[in-house]
Amino acid sequence: MSTQPVRQAPSGAFEYMTTKKDEFVGWARKFSLFPYPFVTACCAMEFMSVSSTLYDTDRFGAALPRFTPRQSDLLMVVGTVTHKQAPILKKVYEQMCEPKWVIAFGVCATSGGFYQNYAALPGIDKIIPVDLYIPGCPPRPEMVIDGIMKLQDRIARDRHPIINEKF
C-alpha cells in the first residue's frame, strides 16, 4: 500500500445506505431460498414431510427445489454422505454460485451419526463449509423449520455486498 494517510471513516449517509441495502437484500434473499435437496437416506422421509402440506416450507419461501446446483443457493445435505458420495457432494457445492448456504440435515450429515466406520464421511463439514446443523435421526419437521428460520435470521443480519466488497 502507499504512504497515504488512512482513509476517513465513510460518512454517515453512505453507512446508512449500506445498512439499508443490506437489510433489503437480506430480506429478499432469506425469503426466496432455492434449495438443492442433496438427498441420500432416511432423512429424505422427513424432508418430504416438511415440504408437504402439514408442515410446509413454502410458507418460508424455501420450498421450490431447483434440481440443479447452478440455479440454487441453499444446499441441503439430507442424509448420510459416504466416502463414495463425497466427490459428488464437493462437485455439486463447487457448481453453486455465491451467495450460497449449506444446511447439514440430520446427524449423519453433521457428524456421521452412528455410522463411525470405513464407509461414512464423519460429517460433511470435513469437505465443505456448513452454515447450519440440524441434528436428529431424523429431525422432526418442526426442528427443520426452526433451523430454516435461524438460517433466515442469519441471512438477514449478514452483509450482502452486491457491487463490490464495500457496497
Binding site: F38, M45, T80
Partner: protein
C-alpha cells in the same frame, strides 16, 4: 474457497462402457445426485437419440457399513441399524431381524406380540407403498397425488410416534416381543386413519387411473416377463406385477398371516402401470388385514417371559438383586444367543427381506447379513430400462422403489 477444475475430483466408479456401441450414440451419466434416482443410484446410459441402448447401473453410494457395524454391537444394540435399512417401512426390518434371532434362540413370542407385529408390519407396508406411489407421481408431475399421499403418511408417522416415540425409524422390535404396549386410544385413531386413507387413495385413483397422460407414460413401459423376473431375482410387487401370485405371507406364512383373510393382487403385463396398481391394491389389502387384526388382538403379556432376552420390570430391577444382575448382563453383554446359523425371510414392502445370521454364542453376532430386495432389483433393472426412451427411466425407476438404505446397506 478457490476455484478448482472439476476433474481433479476422483471418479468413484468405473463404468462398464465408455464408448457407444453404434454410430452416433451418446453416453450420458444420470445421477447419483438426481431426484429420479432417489439420490443414490448412478445410471450410465448409452442413448441413440431418445432411445436407451444399454445402461450400467451403479449403486453403493449409500453403503454405510451395516454388516461391519453389526459385528461390534450386541444383538439388541444393532436394532437401530436394522431399522435404517428400508427406512420407509422400518418396522418390517425390525420384526424380520428379531424373528431370525428368536429362531436361533428357540423362543416363541406371545400371541399378543405376534398379532401386534403383524398389524404393525402391515401398517409399515402401507407407509412404504404410499411413499413409493407419492414419489412416482411427483416425478411424473402429478404433484397433487404426492401431497395427498404424503399427508396420510404424515398421519401414520405421528400415530406411530405416539406408540414408539419416533416418526421414521422406530427401533421398536425387541428380541422376544416389542418395546412397549399400545397406549390408550391408539386403535381408535388407527381406525380413523384407515378411513381417511381410503378417501385419499380414492381421490388419487380418480386423478390418475384413467388419465391419458398417466396411461401413456406408464402402460407398456418397463415391461418384464415372469421368466425374466425370476431369473433376475425379483420378488415382491415387481414379481407380482408380472402375473404370478408369489407372496411369502401366503406361501410360507409367518407371524399371524395364516389366520388372516386377504388376497394377493397380481398384474397383467409387468409394466409400470401394473406395479402402480399392485401397490395401490396392496394398500387396500393391508388396510383390510389391519381391520381384521384389530378385532383379533388378544390380551396378555407382550414380551415372552424369558430372562435370556426380556428385560425385567423396572420395579424389580430396583428391588431384587437377580433382576438387577439380569438387566445389567442384558445391557452390557447382550442376550446370549446359542451358536448356529439361520436364514429367515419376511415379505418386505419390496420383496423378500432375508436375514442370514451366524452366531458363535455370546452377546455379539459373528455375522448379520441382510438379503435386500432392492439390491437384487438393481441388478435386474437394466432389463426394464434398455430399449425404452430416456424419459421412461423416471417412471420405471420410481416403480421399482429402490430404497437406498436397503440396496447398499
Amino acid at each position: 474457497m478457490s476455484a478448482r477444475a472439476p476433474d481433479t475430483l476422483p471418479n468413484p466408479i468405473r463404468p462398464a462402457f465408455t464408448e457407444g456401441s453404434r454410430e452416433g450414440s451418446v453416453i450420458v451419466n444420470i445421477g447419483p445426485s438426481h431426484p429420479a434416482t432417489h439420490g443414490t443410484i448412478q445410471i450410465v446410459a448409452e442413448l441413440s437419440g431418445e432411445r436407451v441402448v444399454r445402461t450400467d447401473v451403479h449403486c453403493g453410494y449409500l453403503h454405510r457399513g451395516f454388516e461391519k457395524e453389526c459385528e461390534s454391537h450386541t444383538w439388541h444394540n444393532l436394532i437401530p441399524y436394522v431399522d435404517r435399512l428400508n427406512y420407509c417401512s422400518a418396522l418390517i426390518n425390525d420384526f424380520a431381524y428379531c424373528e431370525a434371532v428368536e429362531k436361533l434362540m428357540g423362543i416363541e413370542i406371545t400371541p399378543r406380540a405376534r398379532y401386534l407385529r403383524t398389524l404393525l408390519a402391515e401398517y409399515s407396508r402401507i407407509a412404504d407403498h404410499l411413499t413409493c406411489i407419492a414419489a412416482a407421481l411427483m416425478e411424473l408431475g402429478a404433484m397433487t397425488g404426492f401431497l395427498y399421499l404424503v399427508t396420510i403418511r404424515d398421519y401414520i408417522y405421528e400415530h406411530l410416534a405416539d406408540l414408539t416415540g419416533a416418526r421414521v425409524t422406530y427401533s421398536y422390535g425387541r428380541i422376544g416381543g416389542l418395546a412397549k404396549d399400545l397406549p390408550e386410544g391408539w386403535l381408535k385413531r388407527l381406525g380413523e386413519i384407515l378411513d381417511e386413507m381410503e378417501t385419499f387413495t380414492g381421490r388419487v385413483h380418480g386423478l390418475v387411473d384413467r388419465n391419458r397422460i398417466f396411461i401413456d407414460r406408464m402402460r407398456d413401459v418397463g415391461v418384464i416377463s415372469t421368466a425374466d423376473a425370476v431369473n433376475w431375482g425379483f420378488t415382491g410387487p415387481l414379481l407380482r406385477s408380472t402375473g404370478v401370485p408369489r407372496d411369502l405371507r401366503k406361501d410360507t406364512p409367518y407371524l399371524a398371516y395364516a389366520e388372516l383373510d386377504f388376497e394377493v393382487p397380481v398384474g397383467i403385463k409387468g409394466d409400470n402401470y401394473d406395479r402402480y396398481y399392485v401397490r395401490m391394491r396392496e394398500i387396500d389389502e393391508s388396510a383390510h388385514m389391519i381391520r381384521q387384526l384389530m378385532e383379533m388382538l388378544p390380551t396378555g403379556p407382550l414380551c415372552v417371559d424369558d430372562r435370556r432376552c426380556t428385560f425385567p420390570e423396572k420395579s424389580l430391577v430396583y428391588t431384587e438383586i437377580e433382576s438387577l444382575i439380569n438387566h445389567f448382563k442384558l445391557v452390557m453383554d447382550g442376550p446370549q444367543v446359542p451358536p448356529g446359523e439361520v436364514y429367515s425371510a419376511h415379505e418386505g414392502a419390496n420383496g423378500e427381506l432375508g436375514f442370514y445370521i451366524v452366531s458363535v454364542g455370546g452377546g455379539v453376532p459373528w455375522k448379520v447379513h441382510c438379503r435386500s430386495p432392492s439390491f437384487v432389483h438393481m441388478g435386474g433393472v437394466h432389463r426394464m430400462l434398455d430399449g425404452y426412451q430416456l424419459a421412461d427411466i423416471v417412471p420405471t425407476f420410481g416403480s421399482v422403489n429402490m430404497i437406498g438404505g436397503e440396496c447398499d446397506r
